[in-house]
């Protein structure tokens, strides 16, 4: 399982701006593989293109040039409904600001993607409960996200991302809003998802602690890959 490419980017570019105005090359000619069972960390200064690259991998943005393949499927060839359906079942996304739905309880936030994917209760509730318990939130199942600490909210967001058992997990600055201890827990969780469950995990981060867990480190600058390092530095 480990080593099989889950994501393959070939000469992917994404430009913003119309002809006649200034064109921003947010991502420019990036070629990259992210293997199953690996944790890939995108590093680089703000504005270097990390987040845009994550959006391209997750199918939230379409590339201006090049192709994005996930598990052999060319995402850039899919129309919006097909891309949305693909994302629902195969890609989990974790945001820096958590972005949990405040109107739902913690358990419902995790259960929702399962319902959207066609799993009904009681199976969806059982699966959400299992994930919430596994991520150490059993005692918080029925509370609203606003009442949780930052670390708890991010663990809930990870549980939601994992609900449909995706082969690819994307995380944007997952430790950016957390204290040191919570940040460590989240990094360990993401690493475990890659190492123990064979997912491809791609993380955009400024957090140097990530490097200790990374299987590959991609350094971005001005939208290009400025450096690619394999192996962990811990």
């Amino acid at each position: 399982m480990s080593g099989t490419p889950a994501v393959r980017l070939a000469q992917v570019s994404r430009f913003f701006g119309d002809a006649g105005s200034t064109v921003v090359r947010a991502v420019d000619g990036v070629t990259l593989d992210a293997a199953r069972g690996s944790l890939t960390v995108l590093m680089g200064p703000s504005g270097s293109g990390k987040t845009t690259l994550l959006s391209l991998i997750g199918g939230l943005l379409s590339p201006t040039q090049g192709t994005v393949e996930a598990d052999g499927v060319t995402l850039s060839a899919l129309d919006q409904p097909a891309l949305t359906a693909y994302r629902l079942r195969h890609i989990g996304i974790v945001f820096q600001a958590f972005h949990l739905i405040d109107a739902l309880t913690l358990l419902e936030n995790v259960e929702l993607p399962l319902n959207l994917a066609g799993r009904a209760r009681p199976a969806s509730r059982d699966r959400a409960t299992e994930l919430v318990d596994r991520l150490g939130l059993a005692h918080r199942r029925d509370v609203r996200p606003r009442t949780l600490s930052g670390g708890e909210q991010q663990r809930c967001a990870i549980a939601r991302a994992l609900a449909n058992d995706p082969m690819l997990v994307l995380a944007d600055e997952p430790t950016g809003s957390l204290d040191a201890r919570s940040g460590e827990e989240v990094i360990a969780l993401l690493h475990a998802e890659a190492a123990d469950r064979g997912r491809a995990v791609v993380v955009a981060s400024h957090d140097p602690r990530m490097l200790r867990y990374a299987d590959a480190v991609v350094t971005m600058d001005f939208g290009r890959v400025a450096g690619l390092t394999s192996g962990r530095t811990r």
Partner: protein, 379 residues
Amino acid sequence: MSGPRSWWSPRGVPLGPRLIAFDRIRFGITIAGIGFAVVLLLFLIALYDGVRTESNGYIASRPVHAWVAQDNTTNFIKSSSFLMAAGADVLSEVDGVIEVTPLLRLITTVHFGDRHATAIILGFAPQSVAGRPEMAEGSAVPGRGEIVLDRALASQLGVRINGTLTVHGRAVRVVGLSRGTNSVMTQLAFIPLDDARELFGVPQVASFLLVRGAPEVSHDALVERLAGRVPRTSVFTREQFAANNMQELEGGFLPILATVAMLGGIVALAILTLLLYGAILEQRETYAVLKAIGAPDSVLTRLILFQSLAAVVGGMVFGVAAYALCAPLVLWAVPVMALSLSPSALAAVGVAFAIIGMVGALLPLRRVQRIHPAELFRA
């Protein structure tokens, strides 16, 4: 694996109700806004129906075959008509006629203490059922020196049965209160024909002749027989005369009410769209999250429609309840107001607001379509 399951399914997370419950103050404001529009619309429709029913009620319900009026007079509401009462004797001779009753219509001011009101006084033959109004209370057969008043007119004047009014300087005692005799602008009052002729100094004159025929004679056939028998008269079947009156109503006051009712609907649509649009902006992050985690457009569409229709249903319940509470107060404060709300009118308002709910969701739907999930990475 089956397709995306509805979020309002009892077998999944009830996202729609949860979103409403979470933002209940805004939702309450939306319901109140729609509710007030519903109340406004219900009052306008009730007034529209009330005016239609009440203004034409007496005319349409006469137990007669035909109305005879002065030539060129086509209706009761907006015309004057003077006939020689002797025409009744001529028409009585026509084959198939059972009874001819004169009706004298005059407009005057009636006084009760320091209150007064303009009324249409109808002089009729009390011994004949043809001219008797439908009663709410008391006697429909006034004797000499007595009067039957429309109940709204009585409320307006503050007079009750056995009270004494002054009509044209003469005291008359109230013996009954009628219904179906209130056209909002003016109301009917009934006195014996002889009193009317005496009071107004017009002996041997009638405004209309009501002709009752034998049951086996059709209204059309009797009208044919009556036509031309009395010079310079027009003869109408009861149905035609009632239709003429309705046409007069629909050409005057009612279009104004219909226009205001339509404006009420437009206001409701604007309120719903505005408040729903505001709710979408408030929940922008939620919709972006749903898109990011893979919710298809159909789910988002249903979510918006659910909120819109829930607001409409809530607004309808609020509006109908408020109408039920307010209508008696309005009738108490403005006795001459004619309100009539039928179940079919209520159902029509429900259907109209369901359509308004769906149309009102269009703009918010477009807004949701423009929310891009990638924006979550920036916040």
